[in-house]
Symmetry: C2
Subunit: 396 residues, 2 copies
């Protein structure tokens, strides 16, 4: 059977191969990218789903508008307003089947084969593959602990004239990096100066451990004249409430939103109204603030636990900046003390010791740094994290 | 903003424009393509969703496998086996976000820009648009009340060497036509002879009014050696249980299924596990046979009511074959007695009389028949159907 030529641009991920080894009994996994099921507010979601079916069974079970279930759009607009997005109205967003679909719709709507797209190096693996399926030629802008390096980004924009720039500014996956306020402003200025769309993927912004992070690019756009129309913002309920609902959203200027809606109509018609009505009832119930407090506190404990254990067990053989939120440590093998610098090799030895993580190389669209790795602290408690990091130390 | 060139291939549907007029108070609509909300088994779905959350909250709320929630794949395989599909195993299908997504994944996996695809004329509008977004050059094979005309289909296959053939063999949308058993066998033989993929879209096959229809192409493939690998089958819970769950499935040979799964990974990661776990519990509960009996009986009454009313009120000005299942009448204005033959004009006059339907022209990928129209009997009861058809008579 002859498949579409677009499939030639993607390959089965190296990470998936690694995941097959995770079935080994007793393994401690820092490899996942998912939240801890034990933190899901099952009772709150049970009540919300019951209310959805009791109050408006037709709305929850019938076909719905491609743009999304109106009560949910209203709740999500209010949620964004509560995070500082000025004048956010329900018709400025559409509900998507997870934020993965928002990325897919942006790809479908914007990318012609051969178009340039700039992403962070490293960035979310599924985004790279998603955009490549639409024929994107992906360029990579370097990052540091303050997020993407804006001078390099500007050079790349001038050089490549990309269709858009894709960023995870807040607690990035895999970088854990937090884009500084000053860099956020400069990126909005670049968007206006070069008339280039900036796609802000923000699934982790609510998962901060201390102070709240700087405002999202979307929120900050009101301070940089002309920038709002150049920002597309992808939100998600997956990391804070439940990935299984598959409820995300896309905020964009009207013309782009209309095109994305048309593409969505032919992608899945609409997101599950049952899931949407459940999410709407949940947000309406007022339980979200307590849920957010709970996940922030638990993930903060785990993150601190991992930072301490890494320093104690691996010492100067590993370099990292402790994240201020999100789910991930991004680290680099320094090679000091004659220790290994190849994270793929290290991952194999770690599995033998009963602990798993993901090497960093696949997260780079170009020029992978083979010494990097991603560690998730999301799904193990602090004791398990200490035990797992101890095994990492033995593997190194 | 400059969008992707693929958007040049599609346009906002004429039907959508018509739908804007449906808000008029007191209008009776035969225009929709959706089932009647009043038939949804809300209590059964409530229990199923509760069980899903009680028995396996992690499975229902966490990220899940792209291929689908295993208990649902097992239930769907059993459902297909109960309809005569030999040796159907769970790993031969993936769960999709409605069958619309199955079509989207087939488009993404199979169609390179410029590839030929053959569909029925008329066929499901969203399929035409979905495939065109991937750059398909769509050819149209004529139908009659026995479904697609196989001799013409074979000529078109020889002439165009299509990437695949897309059919709705059982109670097609908009045609209501039922492909005969003999034609089904011949199509399977054509698939083998020309090594061409045949995509069978089957959302209506369970909605029969009298005898069960002939087996699906998928089921019949076991009788035509070598044909099973050339059949992709799209199933759906939308018309029989609830569209709002967005639970469909795709059956295909292993290589195609693996490619479609990869594409799905970057489209929406997976279908809502909450919706999937609810559907799995529903199928497990044993309520489905009674639900099917109920919808078959009610839609049969409505279909008979519409047939009688059309004969009485419109007489020889309209031609149609009474459907044996599904949700639609496909009709043609004969022009006899000096009556109009332009269904678009007629639709506008009907709206003035307080009744709506969809003109047939947009359902043709090529050479539209302007005298055709689609009438859905799904959402009005028999009294409303009689009243609505009376208004049609006055409009004509």
């Amino acid at each position: 059977m002859q498949f579409a030529t677009r499939l030639d641009n993607v390959e089965t991920s190296a990470i998936r191969e690694l995941f097959k080894l995770l079935g080994k009994p007793g393994i401690i996994s820092f490899a996942g990218g998912f939240p801890d099921s034990a933190m899901f507010d099952v009772e709150g979601l049970r009540e919300a789903s019951q209310k959805a079916l009791a109050e408006e069974p037709g709305g929850a079970l019938q076909y719905g508008a491609t743009e999304g279930y109106e009560p949910l759009r209203a709740q999500l607009a209010a949620f964004e307003r509560s995070k500082g997005v000025a004048d956010m109205e329900p018709n400025q967003l559409i509900v998507t089947t997870g934020s993965q679909q928002a990325l897919d719709l942006i790809g479908k709507t914007m990318i012609s084969p051969g178009d340039k797209v700039i992403v962070e190096g490293p960035t979310f693996l599924a985004t790279i593959q998603c955009f490549r399926l639409y024929g994107a030629d992906i360029q990579s802008a370097p990052i540091d602990a303050q997020g993407v390096q804006v001078d390099r980004l500007e050079q790349l924009i001038v050089e490549h004239r990309p269709k858009f720039v894709y960023l995870i500014p807040t607690f990035g996956n895999p970088s854990g990096a937090l884009l500084s306020l000053e860099r956020r402003r400069r990126i909005l200025e670049l968007a206006v100066k070069y008339q280039v769309l900036v796609v802000e993927d923000d699934p982790y912004g609510d998962l901060y451990f201390g102070e709240a992070p700087p405002p999202s690019l979307l929120a900050l756009a009101s301070e940089v004249p002309g920038s709002r129309e150049w920002i597309a913002h992808c939100g998600s309920m997956s990391k804070v409430l439940s990935p299984g609902l598959r409820v995300g959203w896309l905020v964009a200027q009207p013309e782009l939103l209309a095109k994305a809606t048309m593409c969505k109509q032919f992608s899945d018609a609409h997101t599950s109204t049952f899931a949407q009505a459940t999410a709407a009832q949940y947000l309406k119930s007022g339980r979200m603030p307590a849920t957010l407090r709970n996940v922030r506190q638990k993930y903060a404990e785990r993150s601190h636990g991992m930072a301490e254990a890494l320093k104690r067990e691996l010492g100067e053989a590993i370099e990292f900046t402790e994240p201020k939120g999100g789910l991930f440590f991004w680290a680099r093998l320094s090679g000091r003390g004659g220790k290994p610098t190849h994270a793929g090799e290290f991952a194999r030895r770690a599995i033998e010791q009963g602990v798993a993580f993901v090497p960093g190389a696949p997260f780079f669209a170009k020029d992978p740094d083979l010494a990097t790795l991603r560690l998730s602290f999301a799904t193990a408690d602090v004791d398990k994290i200490r035990e797992g990091v101890g095994r990492l130390g033995r593997a190194l």
